[in-house]
């Protein structure tokens, strides 16, 4: 049995497998099906300062080996989270991480500060890469200056582990990662979804209510692996890799490319127990290859 523990800054994970924001609710939705405490970390649904109703239906279109979504950060706001959801999840024996989004640096910082006050939340993931909202989200994640402004504002008010989730919808993701690192992030996670579109040719209509959406699932994996590789070479802080991971082999590919930990997103919809299978599969792979620790494979690709 190889050692599976990894660290993301001060955050200790019992294994490198986390769930991606927006794909696992608050964990509670899956508790009948998955032993939540066996997951390395659960990154809950994107949370904003004020409640958001999200975009109109239809919000989802299935694609070859993937799906598009334009949910648009539907959530009841950080105060509702603190009051009603936090009490239900704070005692789950894993890292409960809140994904924070906003429409201005002050918004992000205020939301992060309220989560900072919660003892049971050891980290946040800052979403500067949501492709589905007009005001903010990806607008901050596609320029170095925008990314830096949000991360600096949050860093001043947030004192625990700060992971920043990067957008793949940029020309040079390594540049953005470096700007985020310089602004004080403890880690970067990538990739958020790729902007896409689908058309119903019979109805001659866009399939999604706002026209475009974020593409996820195995179809994006090679893009994600490439970006994780580039970012891991460009920064010193730990990288969290995600994008289309369905199996332990996929997870190992991301780790070899430079990811210290990984997130599983869309795969939860097909197999709600996939996180546990990936963890077990990583362990078996390490044993089979005589590795003592999962750290032996992180970033081994030159």
């Amino acid at each position: 049995m190889a050692k599976l523990e990894v660290n993301i800054g001060a955050l200790k994970l019992k294994n490198p497998v986390m769930t991606a924001s927006g794909t696992f609710g608050y964990g509670l939705e899956f508790q009948d099906l998955v032993p939540l405490e066996e997951i390395g970390g659960i990154i809950v649904k994107g949370t904003t300062l004020k409640p958001r109703e999200g975009n109109d239906y239809p919000r989802m279109a299935e694609t070859a080996m993937g799906m598009l979504n334009c949910v648009g950060l539907q959530n009841k706001g950080v105060d509702y989270f603190c009051e009603h959801i936090y009490p239900q999840i704070k005692d789950i024996d894993t890292n409960m991480i809140v994904n924070v989004s906003g429409s201005s640096p002050d918004d992000y910082a205020e939301c992060a500060a309220r989560v900072d006050a919660l003892d049971g939340i050891p980290a946040i993931e800052l979403n500067i890469s949501c492709p589905n909202v007009k005001d903010g989200g990806m607008a901050f994640g596609v320029t170095c200056a925008g990314a830096e402004s949000v991360v600096k504002a949050v860093r001043e008010r947030y004192h625990k582990t700060l992971i920043v989730k990067l957008s793949p919808n940029v020309t040079n993701i390594a540049e953005i990662a470096r700007a985020v690192e310089a602004a004080g992030a403890d880690s970067v996670s990538l990739i958020n979804t790729l902007m896409g579109m689908a058309i119903d040719i019979e109805k001659r209509r866009k399939k999604l209510s706002i026209g475009t959406g974020g593409l996820s699932g195995p179809c994006v994996k090679p893009v994600a692996v490439r970006m994780v590789y580039q970012v891991a070479k460009a920064v010193k802080i730990p990288v969290v890799g995600l994008g289309g991971i369905m199996t332990a082999e996929d997870a190992i590919e991301f780790m070899m490319a430079g990811a210290t930990a990984i997130e599983i997103g869309t795969a939860n919809f097909i197999d709600p127990t996939v996180t546990i299978k990936v963890r077990d599969g990583i362990n078996e792979w390490l044993d089979r290859h005589g590795c003592q620790s999962v750290k032996d494979i992180i970033g081994v690709i030159e």
Partner: protein
């Protein structure tokens, strides 16, 4: 209700008509408790064009035979793959999902039932096309609880009328077809039984235009009406927030949710709720129809 992911075994796949199959599934252990109106998310294996699970409503649960029935219209690659299954094959199902129809008397696992609506008339179960599927198990449950459900089933032609013999076991069955090839010609809302009798509750599943017409009829007559929605869905667990329907009123607390029919709307605020979790069954008073 506790949810499960199970590898069920196909006992038979019966082709009812060109476009419809009835899949009977079983399990080595007793199947979990399921409520009429709940659904199953079926994993589709080995199809390059489908990726997500397919939500399929629970057609029937035969406790004695330990069988779960799924009535499936073959409309795409996923459902065609399901139709190609053979006895002995495995079908991975996540179940039971969603809330289910309001029952006048509770079943194991269901929360607060409706108060029995004495003297207001029996239930009318209206189905259209493959939308008749979730009404069979509901009808059985109603009959077993002492009610006398009436079924009003509509279809394009007589070839699209499904499982009539099964429905007849649990109540009276009236039929409409658009071409008049069986029963009364026209739509379900034109059927003469609606003029002749007074019903206390309408529970309806079918194409959206049909459900909207039924909802309009029920509203005009002041009859409580529930419909089952089938918005495009990914997770089935209320996590991805893709299948939302904009509804009136604050999200109901779970205890009130089962008593949906008698809940006065607490607010006119519009909220997006997950059809997979707060539905698929909704009182039409909450919908913007």
């Amino acid at each position: 209700m506790k949810k499960y992911v199970l590898d069920l075994t196909v006992r038979s796949v019966e082709r009812l008509h060109e476009r419809y199959v009835l899949i009977r599934l079983t399990h080595r252990e007793p199947l979990p408790a399921m409520l009429p109106g709940q659904f199953v998310e079926v994993r589709v294996d080995g199809s390059p064009s489908t990726f997500l699970r397919r939500p399929i409503s629970i057609n029937f649960v035969d406790k004695e035979q330990n069988e779960l029935w799924l009535l499936v219209a073959t409309v795409g690659d996923g459902t065609r793959w399901m139709a190609s299954l053979k006895a002995g094959d495995t079908l991975n199902c996540m179940l039971p999902l969603g809330n289910g129809w309001t029952l006048s008397r509770p079943m194991e696992g269901s929360s607060t039932p409706l108060p029995h609506r004495e003297g207001q008339g029996e239930s009318l179960l209206i189905g259209g096309g493959v939308g008749v599927a979730p009404l069979l198990y509901l009808g059985k449950q109603l009959k077993e609880s002492g009610a006398e459900p009436t079924f009003l089933l509509g279809a394009r032609t007589k070839n699209d009328l499904l499982m009539l013999g099964e429905f007849e076991k649990y109540g009276r069955v009236f039929v409409t077809t658009e071409d008049g090839s069986e029963g009364e010609r026209g739509f379900v809302t034109n059927h003469s039984v609606l003029q002749q009798e007074r019903f206390g509750l309408i529970q309806c599943c079918g194409p959206t235009p049909m459900m909207k017409a039924v909802a309009r009829y029920a509203r005009e007559k002041g009859i409580c009406c529930e419909v089952s929605l089938e918005n495009l869905m990914a997770c089935g667990l209320g996590a991805c927030l893709c299948c939302v329907e904009k509804v009136k009123g604050l999200p109901l607390t779970p205890s009130k949710e089962r008593g949906d029919l008698d809940v006065s709307l607490e607010s006119n605020e519009l909220v997006n709720v997950c059809v997979c979790k707060e539905g698929p069954v909704f009182n039409v008073n909450r919908l913007l129809w």
